[in-house]
């Protein structure tokens, strides 16, 4: 099996965000960075598959120098080698441009299976994986919460709206995007963290892979306006309950 997993470095979501000077993205200066949560499930699943079937597992990440730290985590989790596409302005690229870069790299490599997160925690477009599959002409299953592989066929469980699940099978080569619930990433072990240091890290300037222009542009990024204060109900308990039920019936779909 020749496997690729694509990861993104995102800010720790507990951070205090500031809009940057251009007003089009957040200011990255004082943020702590980590692996996109959904990508952790993707890496874990890819590593489990590799442990099961053997083969070779590459992790790819686009971004500035600092993304190496996140890539090292993927290597410590069990990926065999890293491909760092160096791009100091990756945050300006839209999902189409990012997917094009990945497809440009992956195209000639003939991966049997590509794993991505279902979306990134910062941009949240949920498009990159799907676009890569489209560009490479691969079958694609999104938001997977279950995965198995047997004899060249993947069987996945997808999570749909309203808690509905769907079972999908596809022959490899294929691409899947991973959702919370797929697995619980195992803890890194100290020896594996140190072993990751010795693994190969291929560095590619983004110009070598970037053959398209972005199709979208973020024109402005801002915090939503603060809404007015909540409604405070007063009175005795029975009265409060009646008022609450009335509001829930009239103003929401919670009670019919």
């Amino acid at each position: 099996m020749n496997i690729l997993v694509c990861i993104k470095q995102v800010p720790d979501m507990e951070s205090r965000f500031k809009v940057d000077e251009d007003g089009t993205w957040f200011d990255g200066a004082d943020l702590a960075w980590r692996m996109n949560e959904y990508d952790e499930y993707a890496v874990e699943q890819a590593v489990q598959l590799k442990e099961e079937t053997g083969g070779d597992l590459t992790v790819l990440c686009i971004g500035p120098e600092r993304v190496k730290e996140t890539m090292k985590k993927a290597l410590a989790m069990g990926c065999d080698r890293g491909v760092h596409v160096v791009d100091n302005e990756s945050f300006k690229k839209d999902p189409f441009a990012i997917a094009s870069i990945i497809a440009e790299f992956a195209g000639p490599k003939n991966f049997d299976l590509i794993f991505t997160g279902m979306q990134s925690q910062d941009r949240g477009s949920a498009q990159v994986g799907v676009l890569v599959a489209e560009m490479l002409g691969l079958p694609c299953a999104t938001t997977i919460v279950g995965f198995s592989f047997d004899n060249g066929v993947i069987s996945v469980k997808r999570e749909l709206e309203g808690g509905v699940k769907a079972k999908v099978t596809a022959s490899v080569p294929a691409l899947v995007t991973c959702q919370l619930g797929l697995n619980s990433p195992r803890y890194l072990t100290l020896p594996n963290i140190l072993k990751a240091k010795k693994k190969e890290m291929l560095v590619i300037p983004v110009a070598d892979l970037s053959k398209t222009q972005a199709l979208e542009e973020t024109t402005s990024l801002y915090f939503p306006e603060k809404k007015g204060t909540g409604l405070i109900l007063e009175g005795d308990v029975a009265d409060l309950a009646d008022q609450l039920i009335k509001i829930l019936k009239e103003k929401t779909a919670v009670l019919a």
């Binding site: 730290e69 090292k72 803890y187 890194l188 100290l190 020896p191 963290i193 140190l194 990751a196």
Partner: protein, 385 residues
């Protein structure tokens, strides 16, 4: 000078934090209440390689040193003071000591078992009538030709009643004073002459087992001696200088955990219409404990780093242990005050941090004993080793 953790060290720190949050915290309240030690958790730590620091790879070492072990201890203690103790019991105490003084056979036989937590380690120095005065101990080992016979009582021994193999210090020749002390590698289980019992009246560290050991004509094989006969005191001091830094790292954790809780509370609690953190007196409390904590961190990291470089470090280790323990006690005490009545409640973590922190200035040499070491070296009476 380099004050930055490597990417690998950061990953280890993150992993230990994550481990503590997911494996220790969820059941901590009940575990504390029931004084529950969880052997399976020690096993899990072993599987992740927690106990292979400062050990050669051939005996199960993980390629890391004291520095990394200190990072782990700090993160574990931030959640629970009890749960940094296994690092000393499995790794920095017996394993590192046997690696330094043991024969090849002893290293092969004991170290991998401690590192994998197949054998629970311990070290037994303290007795009912001797603590700080190590050479005042009464336990004896008598040569009976085909075996050693141990007699005496040890007290306040971490892991006593759950321990398998560990180190026992005893006099082989009392007349030679500290030069008559010897270190033995002893199995506490399956020996008719050895009885252990838990001490269940501790103020804190409820998830870390502490107990007593009684030796009554206990037969110990001839080849149980670590190092040489009469080398025990030297080995003991060498060992304590290592376990001390782990304890100091525990102090960073307990102090740091308390400070985090204090800051969150000061940002949430309002009185007189304002956050209590907006009052200068509360700010002064927080400034003091944060400053002391940051200073302690540099001292502890320095001591661990010196050990990994193989440089003299007794002075810096004792300074780190003294300063970090006292800083932790101060931090937890100020945290109690900031929490007000909720600090006095067992529903909130402040009181547990305070109780656990108290142990830090007693174990691995009291604060007074650290001062004796620091002053002795500062005055030129003793060499820094």
């Amino acid at each position: 000078m380099q004050f930055k953790l490597t990417d690998e060290q950061k990953m280890m720190q993150d992993m230990a934090r994550d481990f503590a949050q997911k494996e220790i915290l969820p059941t901590l309240k009940e575990d504390e209440r029931d004084h529950r030690f969880r052997p399976e958790l020690v096993k899990k730590m072993a599987d992740l390689g927690f106990f292979g620091c400062a050990i050669p790879e051939e005996y199960g070492g993980n390629g890391c040193g004291f520095f990394e072990s200190v990072l782990l201890a700090e993160q574990l203690a931030k959640v629970s003071g009890s749960w940094r103790v296994p690092l000393n019991m499995q790794n920095i105490g017996p394993s590192v000591t046997v690696n330094r003084f043991g024969t090849r056979e002893q290293k092969e036989r004991f170290i991998p078992a401690w590192v994998k937590a197949d054998s629970f380690g311990f070290f037994a120095i303290t007795e009912p009538n001797s603590g700080s005065d190590v050479a005042g101990m009464g336990t004896t080992a008598t040569d009976r030709g085909d075996h050693w016979e141990l007699n005496g009582q040890k007290m306040w021994i971490s892991n006593a009643h759950v321990g398998d193999w560990g180190l026992v210090y005893a006099f082989t020749d009392k007349s030679k004073k500290y030069k008559g002390m010897t270190c033995f590698i002893v199995n506490l289980k399956d020996n008719e002459g050895i009885v252990t019992a838990p001490i269940e009246t501790k103020l804190g560290l409820h998830c870390s087992p502490t107990g007593e050991i009684a030796f009554t004509k206990a037969r110990i094989p001839k080849d149980s001696i670590l190092g040489e006969v009469g080398q025990g005191f030297k080995i003991c001091m060498w060992q304590l200088n290592n376990t001390r830094v782990s304890c100091a790292a525990g102090a960073l954790g307990i102090g740091g955990g308390a400070i985090e809780a204090a800051i969150n509370y000061a940002n949430e609690r309002t009185q007189f219409g304002k956050k209590i953190g907006s009052y200068q007196m509360v700010q002064a409390q927080i400034a003091d404990i944060v400053a002391e904590h940051e200073a302690a961190k540099l001292l502890v990291y320095q001591a661990a780093w010196l050990k990994d470089q193989g440089m003299p470090n007794q002075h810096q280790t004792s300074i780190a242990k003294l300063f970090a323990s006292e800083a932790a006690v101060h931090a937890t005490s100020e945290t109690m005050k900031i929490f007000g009545s909720y600090g006095f409640s067992t529903e909130f973590p402040a009181e547990r941090f305070l109780r656990d922190a108290q142990s830090l200035r007693v174990v691995e040499g009291t604060s007074n004993i650290q001062k004796t070491i620091i002053a002795g070296i500062a005055l030129g009476d003793v060499e820094n080793r």
